[in-house]
């Protein structure tokens, strides 16, 4: 089946068609117009010599719009802010930064850290179990402080529409400036004690001195002045390209693959209320992201001690112990599971949903099997459900060279 293509050519770009497409996430015409005008204003700024930092310099060449291919059945509305349109140059720069350990602001081999230190492609951008640095899958930052939670994957984040992180702290609704969009993760990670624990000014100053980088910033954002803000924009652009839509199940949806009997039976269990009843929170039919991106207490505990759950963001007691339901794509590469990594294997996760649920006042009403502590599938049914979950494995995603570490950095180092 043909993939729905979002073709961005320069000509269309000027006609505004594609631009308004990228602006579709904005509710209503006014929002879209504002978005469109943002694009135009941004474009003009790029084109206007007077707006550049160094007046004498020639205007930067226009960056090339980046084409996002939307897999079939995926949402059409993309989460791309008006002031950070996708460009080939931005994505290229973002990929370098994602993998460049000097993002720590330091250059000694033992004090390097970047996004890829923890977000590893082979694990769908989690750190996985068994990494020599983080053997149990719980990452810690440069100064040895453990992150508050275990990893989240980076899969299809261009369709995140209810905030980032396990608790959704980074969201447009957050009243704090700088804690709203994917772009903001850069300064957050650089300063967070459990991640880089560094200094944004120092990081920007270091990249200003690395040969090759200033020119890339100029190409992407019209100025060779390196800022953490533009680092965040580039990183966000790269992360928005990390799209997974070619698992066996996707091919089944496109009519290119026949599910095995076990996968099919697991699929039915996944999608039925009196079966496993997973779809109300994790999507499935009609929602190939395999997440609603919403927050639920899925019945793991009756006593809650994590100060970073959803309630910490909403202040609503009914969000006690609630976390984002993550996508179920590529689970095969993503152990350990849950925000606290409590389950080391998928079998443990399934055993939990099958018979270990515990009630608490804030449990999601969608966990309607709570009265019997679980969905109580038979062992063969559990193994079918697992087979279905594994049909969401997209190996092309974890081996896609476009997402991998560049062979060398702009200054020629590796």
């Amino acid at each position: 089946m043909p993939l729905k293509k979002l073709v961005i050519s320069r000509i269309q770009f000027f006609r505004g068609r594609t631009v308004s497409r990228a602006c579709l996430m904005f509710k209503g015409k006014t929002g879209r117009l504002t978005c469109f005008m943002g694009w135009m204003a941004w474009l003009l700024m790029m084109l206007t010599p007077g707006c550049n930092k160094n007046p004498g310099e020639p205007a930067a060449a226009l960056p090339t719009p980046y084409t996002i291919t939307i897999p079939r059945y995926f949402p059409g509305n993309l989460d791309i802010p008006a002031d950070n349109p996708m460009t080939v140059e931005g994505v290229t720069l973002g990929r370098y930064l994602f993998y460049d350990g000097r993002l720590s602001g330091r250059t000694q081999p033992d004090s390097l850290m970047c996004c890829a230190t923890c977000h590893v492609q082979a694990h769908s951008f989690e750190c996985g179990i068994g990494d020599p640095r983080f053997p149990d899958g719980h990452p810690y930052g440069l100064t040895g402080i453990y992150t508050a939670h275990f990893m989240m994957p980076m899969i299809n984040l261009v369709w995140t529409n209810h905030g980032y992180l396990w608790n959704g702290l980074v969201a447009p609704e957050n009243p704090l400036a700088g804690v709203k969009t994917l772009e903001d993760l850069a300064w957050i990670v650089i300063t967070s004690p459990s991640e880089i624990h560094g200094d944004t000014a120092k990081v920007a100053a270091l990249f200003q001195t690395i040969p090759g980088y200033p020119a890339l910033f100029k190409k992407a954002f019209g100025s060779d002045h390196v800022t953490v803000r533009n680092m965040g924009r580039a990183l966000a652009q790269f992360i928005r390209t990390l799209i997974s839509g070619d698992s066996r199940f996707d091919r089944f949806l496109r009519g290119e693959y026949q599910l095995t009997n076990a996968e099919r039976s697991g699929y039915v269990l996944f999608m039925t209320e009196q079966g496993g009843d997973c779809f109300h929170c994790h999507g499935g039919d009609g929602n190939p992201l395999f997440t609603t991106n919403l927050y639920y207490n899925n019945g793991k505990d009756s006593v809650f001690s994590d100060p970073g759950d959803r309630r910490s963001v909403t202040d609503n007691p009914l969000d006690l112990g609630a976390y984002k339901a993550p996508t179920l794509r590529n689970l095969a590469f993503r152990a350990p599971y849950m925000h606290d990594g409590r389950f080391k294997t998928l079998d443990e996760v399934l055993a939990f949903y099958n018979a270990q649920l515990v009630w608490s006042p804030s449990i999601s009403p969608l966990m309607h099997h709570i009265g019997t502590h679980g969905v109580h599938l038979t062992p063969p049914q559990l193994s079918d459900l697992k087979a279905f979950l594994l049909s969401l494995t997209d190996s092309s995603f974890v081996s896609n060279p476009a997402f991998s570490k560049p062979s060398s950095f702009p200054d020629g180092s590796k």
């Binding site: 949402p75 529409n161 039925t272 209320e273 009196q274 109300h280 709570i370």
Partner: protein
């Protein structure tokens, strides 16, 4: 300077296209529908265990999301279907104020109408899988194996019996029903599907006034879903009714009586 002028022209050009609230009526009436939710005679209060069903359960409402479509005004035997936004399909999340007001674009010749009705949910022709890839409608998707399309309604409840020994969630979800050849709702034994959408006549004999916005107030009495004419017994179902056609049928029989309307103009 030249560039600045360009920018100004650009901005002016697009500001000009921006939709203004339409104040020019040319004598026509405009229509908006405001959705209200009540229980036991008062505005619905979420998350509080204060309601009692006819079958003697205490319950509280945690979520209430539903779709209405095909709003139609009838006059002199003719009918006028409201296309409105989204092809005449409106999604209400009772917790989200912006979804509780549907401002339609229609200009309607003023006068007296015989009735106004809508479809609760989506009719068979409208209820197609993968039609709405974006939230919030996306998250209403109904499993294909259970008939596909979209939930007409998701009402999530927590109920307790009168002795307080049972406190359990109940997923009062409506959509396409299934017929099973087995006694248990085993998806392998599905022999057919049942359309459960229904039409609601909200208003009879009403006037649309010209040169102004007419507001239709549509109120859902939430408790009516569990009370007359059929008494709905939560314990008869395993925490939900998506796979119980008798349950959904009973619910829909009650639901037909759950809506009431007024118009202010």
């Amino acid at each position: 300077m030249k560039n600045l002028c360009c920018l100004a022209v650009f901005l002016a050009m697009f500001a000009g296209c921006e939709k203004k609230p339409d104040t020019v009526y040319h004598g026509y009436g405009k229509l908006q529908i405001a959705f209200h939710h009540a229980a036991e005679g008062n505005p619905l209060q979420f998350d509080t265990m204060i309601y009692h069903s006819a079958a003697m359960y205490n319950y509280k409402v945690a979520d209430l999301q539903y779709i209405i479509s095909g709003v139609t005004l009838y006059r002199n035997g003719g009918e006028f279907v409201l296309p409105g936004t989204g092809g005449g399909i409106h999604y209400v999340d009772a917790r989200i104020p912006s979804t509780r007001l549907w401002v339609t674009d229609q200009s309607i010749a003023p006068g007296t109408f015989d009735s106004l009705s809508f479809t609760f949910g989506l009719n068979a022709a409208e209820n197609l899988s993968n039609r709405f890839p974006d939230p919030p409608l996306r998250d209403m998707a109904w499993p294909d194996i259970l008939g596909g399309g979209y939930h007409y309604m998701k009402m999530n409840l927590v109920y307790g019996n009168s002795s307080g020994t049972v406190i359990e969630p109940f997923m009062f979800h409506l959509g396409i029903g299934q017929l099973y050849s087995s006694s248990l709702p085993n998806p392998d034994s599905i022999t057919g599907y049942v359309q459960n959408f229904f039409r609601v006549t909200l208003l009879k004999r009403f006037i649309i006034a010209g040169s102004r916005i007419n507001t239709i107030n549509c109120t859902m009495q939430v408790d009516h879903w569990f009370d007359g004419p059929e008494s709905f017994n939560f314990d008869d179902y395993p925490g939900g009714i998506m796979q119980s056609q008798p349950g959904m049928q009973k619910a829909c029989a009650n639901g037909r009586k759950a809506f009431s309307g007024t118009i202010s103009n």
